[in-house]
Subunit: 151 residues, 2 copies
Amino acid sequence: MSKKQRSMTIGTLAKAAGMGVETIRYYQRRGLVAEPEKPYGSIRHYDDQALGRLHFIRTAQWLGFSLDEIAELLTLQDGTHCNEARVLGEQKLTSVRQKIRSLQGIEKALDGLVQACSAQRMNVECPLIASLQHGVVQYSETETSGRSNRG
Amino acid sequence: MSKKQRSMTIGTLAKAAGMGVETIRYYQRRGLVAEPEKPYGSIRHYDDQALGRLHFIRTAQWLGFSLDEIAELLTLQDGTHCNEARVLGEQKLTSVRQKIRSLQGIEKALDGLVQACSAQRMNVECPLIASLQHGVVQYSETETSGRSNRG
DNA sequence: GTTGATTCCGTAGCTGACTACGGGAGTAAC
DNA sequence: GTTACTCCCGTAGTCAGCTACGGAATCAAC
């Protein structure tokens, strides 16, 4: 059960984790990964636990968690806060499903417009442009792309 | 067929379009909407065409177009470039469908984890946290959320 | 004719997640 | 023992799409 305990420099660690050195240093500044002690006048060394932490972050990011949320997840890391973790997961799941619904609305609208464009032959007006101009597209106010997608 | 040609100040226009004055001025700087002539020592006035332009931008944004892409769409505005517009629409449609697929993968993974958390009763380890730690979640490398979603 | 809101305009700040730069120190290869 | 890479560290820049600030001019109401 004991993984080999490599001792890596930050560059090696970055390569192993598939990310840049600067990214790791950025996570350190954000407090997401620890900065190991620096031997007197030497260079820091990282072990597989550090690598595991980076995988944790990557996977959580993929699941849609922000770095702030990941920091929160990491405080629950001892595994004894399953309820809290589950709540965070459920919230994320809700927002993911919301995004999917929004995107499906967009897909439908866009598909209709593209198909109308393909069908159009001799008409002067382009259906896609026309619908943007005249507001034919009806969208539900559940934003996904475009403005204020940083909330 | 003639819409009433209101003459609006930028504030009124902003209200009508449901956006802030600063946003409109930002679009002007980006060249997305024109800045009307300013009467000698007076204030600029906007008509319904300007409002239409803002609706165009909003709707295109909702469809997933960036402001740069919208600028491109606006050059096709005369309606005679249906092919070009359709190609842009198809590209966007492809990326929207890609995003949906990614999100569905995420939804599935997250749903599994949340359900495992709900089912878990006396076990010490939280399934969500554990899977982040040990990399149980397998994700396809079609990124949607998280890192480098600014490409 | 004064108060108070709005416009004008340039410039600067915000968010999130990086990414780059620069200069000095440490380390590895030959 | 020199060359060339890598590390360290702080600070600053990037991207997209806004949002805010500040000071002067203009306009609307009373």
